[in-house]
């Protein structure tokens, strides 16, 4: 095919811009809405995943409880306490346990640099930071084994507390006073999303070694044990073994769900993951259906574009156009119109996603905006979309084009 003919096709297309504007707009709109649907959907489930990890998604928490069943002559309603030595017992008897840490907490008056605030102080083991995905801002660290063993007076604090006590300053190395005992700040927690919590969000807390906590607090029992199995699959096994071992020691029925409070985030995360996948699949199906409807509409518009040019096709045939000239012209126009529409749709979608991500979100509020304002424009979505749309272009372009080329010149010339 000769270059001059391509130039002529391009010229015709330019002159027919207004007529093709509707199709171009339809394709732009379709591309835009599907890409936004996929981007925001992906962002939504991604934010869910991240905030699940905020609490830790690989964690079993064991609380104190109260029996709800009689057991070997013992009445129901007995309080079951857990103590620091139970931790050693559990790690010794359950080889599937990877990390374990006690946690006790209470509210204390904290003062620093002339400021005073009443905050939750948690006594935790060194493994706690890893289990709860608490990462220190650079220049700081979490509580370590040495801190725990020698009951050092050191504190790791949430970013909110850091901001309150030392606004605009680096708290690491500074002193805070908890219940009249001075502590050195060793690290500040990096910001993270968290969608589930107990007793407030991590950002507001101070963390100190559990051994140190026992010295400033009078309680002998611990509030919680955090357990992380070596392998996620073992979470139910570990949960059952904890109930059996502590049940034997404190004499309660391992089947008694209230004797110990157990919060298995692994099980919960697995349930949630099914939900996220469900949402993504649902959105993909909606997107696919939308695309299909759009394709039918666009094919119709393409047919209309060809149909209104029937007479013109007849004229060109009379002047010596071959079949391939007719097909090629319509195919090129389809490709061009689609490329233009898809380019603008993708560009606008990308811009919207980027702009939305610029909106600052508050990690404390953990409100709806954290889920809506972090869409993800990913390459794989775009590639899949372009592949599907490319096929549709070909189909919606080739049928009208071939039909046009099969027209009888006399009939085409007579078309009104």
């Amino acid at each position: 095919m000769r270059a001059q003919l391509f130039r002529y096709f391009a010229k015709e297309l330019r002159k027919r811009k207004k007529k093709t504007a509707l199709v171009t707009f339809a394709i732009t709109w379709g591309t835009l809405s599907i890409l936004l649907l996929m981007s925001f959907g992906r962002g939504l489930s991604n934010s869910f995943r991240i905030s699940f990890k905020g609490l830790g998604d690989n964690l079993i928490m064991v609380y104190r409880g109260q029996t709800s069943k009689d057991y070997h002559g013992l009445p129901k309603g007995r309080r079951i306490m857990i103590y620091p030595r139970d931790i050693a017992l559990l790690s010794a008897l359950i080889p599937e346990i990877g990390l374990v840490s006690p946690e006790s907490n209470d509210y204390f008056m904290i003062t620093a640099a002339g400021r005073e605030t009443n905050r939750n102080v948690c006594g935790v083991g060194p493994a706690f930071g890893v289990m709860r995905s608490m990462i220190a801002e650079s220049g700081g660290r979490f509580i370590n084994e040495e801190d725990e063993r020698t009951a050092r007076r050191v504190a790791f604090i949430g970013w909110n507390m850091a901001e309150n006590l030392f606004p605009g300053e680096n708290p690491v190395g500074r002193t805070i006073v908890i219940s009249r005992v001075p502590f050195t700040v060793i690290g500040v927690m990096k910001k993270k999303l968290q969608n589930s919590s107990y007793q407030g969000f991590d950002a507001d807390h101070a963390y100190i070694p559990h051994s140190t906590f026992s010295r400033i607090h009078t309680q002998l029992y611990i509030d919680r044990i955090h357990v992380q199995p070596k392998r996620r699959e073992d979470n139910q096994l570990v949960e059952r073994r904890i109930r059996e071992i502590l049940g034997r020691k404190y004499r309660f029925d391992p089947e008694d769900d209230y004797a110990l409070g157990i919060w298995n985030t692994i099980e919960q995360a697995e349930e949630a993951e099914k939900g996220f996948r469900g949402v993504e699949i649902f959105l993909a199906i909606i997107g696919g259906l939308t695309l299909l409807i759009g394709a039918v509409g666009v094919t119709n518009l393409m047919y209309a574009l060809v149909k209104e040019r029937t007479r013109e096709i007849g004229i060109k045939m009379a002047l010596g156009a071959r079949r391939r000239h007719i097909i090629l012209q319509f195919l090129l126009e389809t490709v061009f119109i689609f490329s233009k529409g898809m380019f603008w749709g993708a560009a606008v979608a990308y811009a919207i996603v980027r702009l939305t991500r610029l909106v600052p979100i508050s990690y404390e509020l953990s409100g709806i905006q954290t889920y809506l304002l972090r869409p993800i424009f990913s390459l794989d979505i775009l590639v899949i979309f372009l592949a599907i749309l490319g096929t549709l272009v070909f189909l919606s372009g080739i049928f009208p084009a071939v039909r046009a080329s099969r027209l009888n010149p006399v009939e085409a010339l007579r078309y009104e």
Binding site: R2, Q4, L5, Y8, K11, E12, K15, R16, R311, E312, G314, I315, K316, M317, A318, L319, G320, A321, R322, R323, R324, H325, N408, P409, V410, L413
Partner: protein, 219 residues
């Protein structure tokens, strides 16, 4: 130039069978100017379309410049139309969004004439039909007579030996019609063969020979 032997054309519309042309035999020499007349529905356009290779006959044989056209496929017929035949229609049939210049140039784009030769040819034709000043206008900005002159220039683009015109003056007033006939006479003078369908005996008087059609037969 044209040799037709027992050409017939049958249209089938469901059960109804309509014989638009009934065993037409025809011989036309080069550089003849012939008008085709006959009542409406007698098959004039059908005959012209078959001669112009826009349509294929249901039976019979047709030689155009000694070439058997009957067995040719669509693209081969396109080439014949492009090289040998120029069409002039009653309703002009110009491309609405192309300028005068572009309309005249179009037939040359389908056979790959070089850009320089195309420009020269379009200029030549614009001068011949007297539309040099109108070359950048679209058909909608031209009068009927001007549009028909563009159509004639376009029909001549590839220097065809045969001009087919289906009621070329049908949409024009009589004065403009005479001007168009003046052009046709000039074309015949250049040695081209002209076949023209018309209802107007005065217009027909410009031709040397008239073929009368009635009910698909020559009378």
């Amino acid at each position: 130039m044209i040799e037709m032997e027992r050409i017939s054309k049958v249209y089938r519309m469901g059960e109804v069978r309509l014989e638009a042309l009934k065993e037409i035999s025809l011989r036309i020499e080069a550089a003849e100017f012939i008008s085709i007349m006959g009542p409406s529905g007698s098959g004039k356009s059908t005959l012209l379309n078959i001669i112009g290779c826009l349509d294929t006959p249901s039976g019979g044989s047709y030689f155009l410049e000694e070439k058997n056209v009957a067995g040719l496929g669509f693209d081969e017929l396109s080439t014949v139309r492009n090289r040998k035949i120029g069409f002039v229609f009653q309703n002009f049939n110009l491309l609405p969004y192309a300028t005068t210049y572009e309309n005249i140039e179009l037939p040359m784009l389908f056979n790959g004439r070089s850009g320089k030769r195309r420009r020269e040819r379009v200029r030549e034709l614009l001068e011949m039909v007297g539309l040099v000043e109108w070359q950048h206008h679209r058909p909608s900005e031209l009068s009927g007579g001007q549009q028909q002159r563009v159509a004639i220039a376009r029909a001549l683009a590839n220097d065809p030996s045969l001009i087919l015109a289906d009621e070329p003056t049908g949409n024009l007033d009589s004065k403009t019609g005479e001007e168009i006939m003046g052009l046709f006479v000039k074309l015949q003078g250049q040695g081209r063969t002209i076949l023209m369908v018309t209802h107007d005996t005065h217009i027909a008087s410009y031709s040397q020979r008239t073929i009368q059609l009635l009910d698909g037969r020559i009378v």
